[in-house]
Symmetry: C2
Subunit: 544 residues, 2 copies
């Protein structure tokens, strides 16, 4: 079969021969039916449990997946639980891109870029630190459990695999309006972390580690930086091209559908081109999403804006639910558990060790990095308080689909050669994913509410005032004719001191000026939108 | 690979080893990149050629597909042209359902049901007549060309395959507002024809034709009627369930995305369940679309309405373009042409014969059925004039993706056993599809404009008045207390005579009464929509 590699369930695959629609295999249809029914159930149950303090959509999907895996196990009499084989292609080609694109498309750009340095520190350096600690820890601990056949590459892969966090659970609880700083850091770190851990994983797979020395580390760094910058540039380029095409050709005149189709296709194309050039598709499509929401989105008709905003969110939502369902069902695959041949004790010991490494590896960078940024920052409200640090730490404890996908990629090269150790690594990772998502995930809502509500946030910062000051100053600078000399000197002095004190804000302000003057006239954007007859702009909420 | 079965292109599949992202195969990515680039190109070129008299979107896609097939042929030095293998699964599982669902979702229901009997006559009886003529004709003609190895089943399959029309080209030209009768007949016939020919094809595949007698014919009819009614009922049931769920749970309160996701998933689920029960998924999803647009669509928030309307149309548009692109690229697959081993003369002769059968088979039912309906109908404006008959005939001459998919299904069981005759049948069908789409398709716009413009339509019918009369009459009947006896008797008489004279209108009126009284209070619909704060209903255009 095509998209979903189904395995026939003997009990169900016999169709009455007199009416068989011969062009579709029954096992495929059964698998698709089950999955779509479960997806619908997830949505309805998720809606009903909206007010529940313990559940959320991902946990619902995971539990439903586990339950249906159990049912399949019982129906087939413990013969096979594979309704679907976990396919990395399905995950990396069709499920991950819409999720990441939507993340870029819906991100509050102002907040994201204001905390850009902090996000990069957490997302890149933090992930690398976590990668190192987990790799070294795994090397030391797993050796003691008697598993000897793993190579250095395997340990490094484990480090990369377990560094990939899944902050969906936390993001569902945090409010973007009440705690903008915390939300943007957790959200941004999640995206950058995904990209970083996948790039790390790929680097580990391709570099030679026969002699581990400084040159290899430098190569790793070089590869990483190369991937980061080229991928970002590609994403921005594709986004700008889409904006330019839609602005120039003015599609809305004829058809809303063409605009929406072109946006979807070009976003997906950016991912594919990045993968073709062996760059990081995730970073590319993320930045493509940001650029599209900043320029392209403003060039289309009102209907297209509503449609793109909601349909991207819907597709991302379905993909996310599907992944959790998938992971849940896949966890009960009995063959893997048989192959691993490990006693319950070994499994639990190994999983606990990995989980402990995850906890330590995350704590080892969240609190130091947060305190370092606090020292650098001068404005009080931008500092990350201890309770925020705790939530950031907590948000990154869950492990999800990226972890599963990378584990399969590393430890299940082909079905025949799966050794005992590899199977054990897969099952242990599954235990870590299930435990962290179910246990940590269900406590998240309660905990965050407790931490945040008992200590209400201080009032919103006065950054807007500073921004106003800057605008005033720069405007005065730009138009000096009607200003006295004294005034001007004073102005220059303040702008310089402001630039030193609030570098991010200043960069942001300068970017806005550049954007208004050069980018928007070419690529469109707020203020350069055509007035479309019949579209009510009140319906369209601002994304930016 | 997963969704698209790519074949590695030797020249492109070598990726630099130092940076290879190991989790995706390069051939898949190359294929996806090419296809998405071509899709974007199709949209842009289609937009630029909007005003062109010869081109339309499907022809653009087909030609682009042919060109890129040619490029692949040259790049690989005539080694392989298969960037993608035409996969029936891909077509029937992922491309056809959204197209048919969107057709049901966007159909003008009033027009569609007003001409329901005519549509069914054309779609079912017409297709069956065409099926018989083409089968018999193929049996008589192909025997003469020296091809002897085809069985009776093969000839019947050819009949079913070549009865599947593709009226996309014509529908792009016809205007739903200017010629509502013509549009609804062509559109409705297209959908019913798809379903009928696929059901015929499946019946042919499964029934035993060792002894061709009256019992077999009756069985065929029985199977057909069973499939038709159960499939329709299933589609209506799923649509009503979705309406009920969304109305009762009131999803919009929390999330627009959930509403949209549930509508998408349940629509797709209806198709899958129908296929699982060996019914006709096409009919099911079509009626599911109709019910969803009549009930479910009115229960969701304003944003969801815009989103669903446009996103369904967009997905359908992409799927349609993709199919034509696919068919174009697939046509140049050199292996098939090699296998057929036929001289150019034989190919041309066979294709011409099939094309002639298509022309005759269609003429044989369009004009008789149109004249029969004209005799039955009493209102002048509802009669199908000769120039409309001509356009209906013309609209069904093009052959498209369904034809290709069914041909592959029948004549390419597996790559090894493809005999010479089967390969010849495949290539001949491809020639018929290409010729009819490119030649007939490019003339369509000019021809329809010529036929319709030179003979402007008569003014719109007075059917609305009749409907008003009926409403008045029935209302008076339902509330007899304030009516005199004489009046009432007169009323009853007229309503009875009206029922006899205009059965469709009366049925429609009675349905509206039933709908308003019993269905809408339970399943929602116009007039029972909640007022959603912040949504401007002016933005939402009525579908019904």
């Amino acid at each position: 079969m095509a998209l979903l590699e189904a395995e026939a369930i003997p009990a169900l695959s016999r169709s009455p021969p007199h009416l068989s629609t011969s062009y579709l295999s029954t096992s495929t249809i059964v698998a698709l039916c089950v999955f779509f029914t479960l997806l619908c159930a997830c949505i309805v149950i998720g809606h009903l449990l909206e007010e529940n303090r313990w559940a959320n959509e991902s946990i619902t999907a995971l539990v439903l997946g586990l339950c249906s895996g159990m049912v399949v196990l019982l129906v087939t009499k413990f013969h096979s639980t594979k309704l679907l084989i976990f396919s990395e292609n399905l995950f990396f080609l069709y499920l991950l891109p819409p999720i990441i694109f939507n993340a870029g498309f819906q991100v509050k750009k102002k907040q994201f870029f204001k905390n850009f340095t902090t996000i990069l520190l957490f997302g890149i350096f933090g992930t690398v630190i976590s990668f190192c600690i987990i790799s070294v820890g795994a090397f030391l601990l797993i050796g003691k459990t008697g598993i000897a056949s793993l190579s250095i590459e395997d340990y490094l892969a484990i480090g990369a695999i377990l560094s990939a966090t899944d902050s969906v659970c936390t993001l569902q609880v945090l409010s973007q309006d009440e705690t903008p700083l915390l939300y943007s850091i957790v959200f941004g770190e999640g995206v950058v972390n995904d990209a970083t851990s996948i790039v790390l994983f790929n680097s580990v797979q391709t570099l030679e580690f026969s002699k581990l020395n400084a040159v290899t580390a430098l190569k790793l760094l070089g590869t990483f930086l190369y991937l980061f910058f080229t991928s970002t540039a590609l994403g921005i380029a594709v986004g700008l091209i889409s904006a330019y095409i839609i602005k120039t050709l003015y599609f809305g005149r004829h058809s809303t559908d063409r605009e929406v189709a072109l946006m979807m296709l070009m976003a997906y194309l950016s991912y594919m081109v990045a993968e073709l050039l062996n760059l990081s598709g995730i970073l590319t499509i993320f930045f493509c999403g940001i650029v599209m929401s900043h320029y392209t989105w403003h060039n289309v008709t009102g209907s297209s804006r509503i449609t793109t905003k909601h349909s991207f969110a819907t597709i991302s939502f379905i993909a996310e639910t599907f992944i959790f369902l998938y992971v849940g069902m896949d966890a009960l695959d009995i063959d893997k558990w048989k192959t691993s041949k490990a006693s319950a004790g070994t499994s639990v010991a190994l999983s606990s060790a990995l989980l402990a490494l995850v906890l330590i590896g995350r704590a080892a960078f969240v609190f130091p990095i947060a305190n370092i940024t606090n020292c650098i920052k001068t404005i009080g409200s931008c500092k990350i308080e201890f309770r925020s640090q705790f939530i950031i730490w907590w948000a990154g404890l869950m492990r999800g689909a990226v972890t599963i996908a990378l584990t399969y990629n590393r430890f299940q090269k082909s079905n025949d050669t799966t050794s005992q150790e590899c199977a054990l690594m897969i099952t242990s990772t599954i235990i870590v994913v299930l435990f962290s998502t179910l246990v940590f995930g269900s406590v998240t809502k309660l905990m965050i509410e407790a931490v945040l509500l008992r200590h209400p946030k201080p009032p919103v910062s006065d950054l807007t005032n500073i921004s106003d000051d800057l605008r005033l100053l720069f405007l005065e600078n730009g138009d000096p004719s009607d200003q006295g000399n004294n005034n001007q000197r004073f102005t220059r002095q303040s702008s310089l001191s402001l630039l030193i004190c609030y570098p991010t804000t200043t960069v942001h302000y300068l970017w806005r000026k550049f954007d208004d003057k050069f980018m928007r006239p070419v690529f469109g954007g707020t203020g350069f939108t055509r007035v479309v007859h019949g579209s009510s702009s009140g319906e369209v909420e601002e994304i930016s």
